[in-house]
């Protein structure tokens, strides 16, 4: 792991990937703040983890399944109740493909 310094350009690119709009102040502050956090977490470089297995599920549960049968569910009206824009029984989104 090389020590990473995030530049303003990196931050702009990341914000695009994350779908975020940053304010001018954030654009100014984030390179320094995020680089400081990365420098801190890079202390892990001191650890030899070559032979260590990663942990994702901490209590060791595996393959928890349930029967696939229909049960109670929300009504269409309930599902649509918090949207700003709907058309009949659908959510309205921006077009992804042009006509």
């Amino acid at each position: 792991m090389k020590s990473s310094k995030l530049t303003k350009k990196n931050i702009k690119h990341l914000s695009k990937l994350a779908g975020l709009k940053l304010t001018e102040t954030e654009l100014k502050k984030f390179p320094k703040q995020l680089s400081a956090i990365l420098a801190y977490v890079e202390s892990l470089n001191k650890l030899d983890t070559k032979k260590i297995e990663p942990t994702a599920q901490i209590t060791g549960l595996e393959n928890i399944t349930r029967e696939d049968k229909p049960g109670e569910s929300l009504t269409t009206n309930e599902v649509l109740s918090n949207t700003k824009k709907k058309s009949r029984n659908f959510f309205v989104t921006k077009a992804i493909l042009e006509k």
Partner: protein, 471 residues
């Protein structure tokens, strides 16, 4: 009825003996909220009308002889618990108008047990924070000193319980968000074992770390609530099938000859001297109870916070990706600074070319941290540590430096990484400010944690020493 000294168990008794009605109880808390909340800002939403209506219904059921464990008991819910028909914001502008159409599993369980919802409590937005200052709905204040933070992210829940605005409140704990505010506000905060309590219907922060718990005045109240909230849930595949204990029934069992470890890594530089001396004094009390105390080592402790601040933002960025403003919520333009910071960090560490160096590395280091605990719990039954390295700090003191704020979580993140349970209980005061102590145990050892905490609480009764509350 003296609300300031009331606990859930006392209230149950009072309702049973008809010393007061549920309506009087709910009115009493609403009165306290009206008096204190304008200064403390512990609530985002109040459910006054509904609560009064529910209280009248509860009184009717009580008079008909209906028995439910929490019938007519008022509680507050952290604002990241989905409550059907009640606005749920996670203290973020993104969800400022969001009205859930279903209840979280634990909300459903508590309602079925008879709980009345007083309101929804303030928090750091999305549970990102250690002070309550990252709320999009104004900071919550510490009831022991209004210029100090109440801790976070369950800031409103801690303040509300401490200042007598509710009997108990729910919380979520991803890196200390129940235990640290409990410690700053002289209340009991439980972070159960990962998967002990269902996460279904609770706004996700970091899914491999999130634990669902509660803040109460006493240990017995905490045990009572866990008995109701815990258990396997078909809607959360990470909930454990292991049986839920009768926590309250076992609480008085002797703790003689139980072995407690004191991890030396938790008492090094960075820990304020006056906090340290309170924990040392608490250990002496435990020895008087016949508990054996010995020093132990958790050698990978120094890496825990680094592991946490890789895994947590990574999972945050993934969980917050769903807020696109299409199905619900106001969209990504409404995210405030701290959420943006964490989304950006997570986006970076999960991006192509960096994932292995950061996220995978952190997951491997997480294994080492878990193994530290596995080894130490072969030698001792439980561990005692401070909750926070400092006393409650000043509002504004750490907001300009995120890394400094993150360091507040140094003694609490380990339990989330290892998935083990932890309880924060009052351990005294320094300059009229509360100090908390943390007891940690192996997976599913809540029973033992309650016993240890209960016996210490019976000897010290710091929860009764709330006379230096300023309002």
């Amino acid at each position: 009825m003296n609300i300031d000294q009331l606990t859930i168990i006392k209230a149950q008794g009072g309702l049973k003996k008809k010393e007061f009605s549920s309506l009087e109880l709910v009115e009493g808390y609403l009165k306290n909220i009206k008096k204190k909340n304008p200064q403390l800002n512990a609530f985002i939403t109040l459910c006054e009308k509904k609560a009064l209506l529910e209280a009248k219904k509860a009184d009717k059921l009580i008079s008909q002889g209906v028995k439910k464990s929490l019938l007519g008991i008022p509680m507050a819910f952290k604002d990241n618990f989905l409550t059907k028909g009640i606005k749920t914001t996670a203290a973020s502008r993104v969800l400022q108008n969001y009205i859930p159409v279903y209840d979280a599993t634990v909300v459903d369980k508590l309602k079925k047990a008879g709980v009345i919802i007083l309101g929804k409590t303030n928090m750091d937005a999305w549970a990102h924070g250690s002070s309550g200052e990252a709320s999009d709905f104004e900071v919550t204040r510490n009831p022991y000193d209004r210029n100090k933070v109440p801790g976070g992210s369950s800031s409103g829940s801690a303040t509300a319980v401490a200042s007598g605005m509710t009997l108990a409140a729910t919380g979520t704990d991803t890196g200390g968000s129940i235990r640290q505010p409990a410690s700053f506000c002289n209340v009991v905060g439980l972070k159960p074992t990962y998967g002990r309590v269902s996460r279904y219907g609770i706004i996700a922060m970091a899914s491999s770390l999130d634990a669902i718990g509660h803040l109460t005045k006493t240990v017995a109240d905490s045990a009572l609530l866990l008995g109701i909230m815990a258990g396997q849930d078909k809607f959360d595949a990470t909930t454990s099938p292991s049986p839920v204990g009768d926590y309250l029934k076992n609480i008085k069992k002797s703790v003689k000859n139980i072995k407690i470890g004191v991890p030396k890594e938790y008492f090094r530089e960075g820990l304020e001297q006056n906090v340290k001396s309170k924990i040392k004094a608490a250990l002496k009390e435990f020895e008087k109870l016949g508990v054996k105390v010995e020093e132990v080592s958790l050698p990978h402790t120094e890496y825990a916070l680094a592991v946490y601040y890789i895994i947590q933002p990574a999972e945050v960025s993934s969980n917050l990706a769903r807020y696109d403003g299409i199905r619900y919520g106001l969209g990504r333009k409404m995210f405030a600074g701290e959420a943006k910071r964490r989304i950006m960090l997570g986006t970076f560490t999960l991006s192509s070319g960096y994932w292995e160096a950061y996220y995978l590395k952190a997951m491997k280091a997480r294994t080492l941290i878990k193994e530290d605990f596995d080894k130490v719990f072969k030698k001792v039954d439980a561990l005692i540590t401070p909750v926070s390295p400092t006393l409650p700090f000043k509002i504004g003191e750490k907001t300009a430096d995120p890394l400094k704020m993150y360091l507040s979580d140094i003694y609490t993140v380990t339990a989330n990484l290892a998935g083990i349970p932890g309880i924060s209980i009052p351990a005294g005061f320094v300059n009229n400010l509360p100090v908390g102590m943390q007891i940690l145990g192996p997976h599913f050892s809540e029973d033992l944690l309650f016993r240890l905490a209960y016996h210490y609480e019976q000897k010290t009764e710091f929860y009764k020493k709330n006379t230096n509350l300023i309002n």
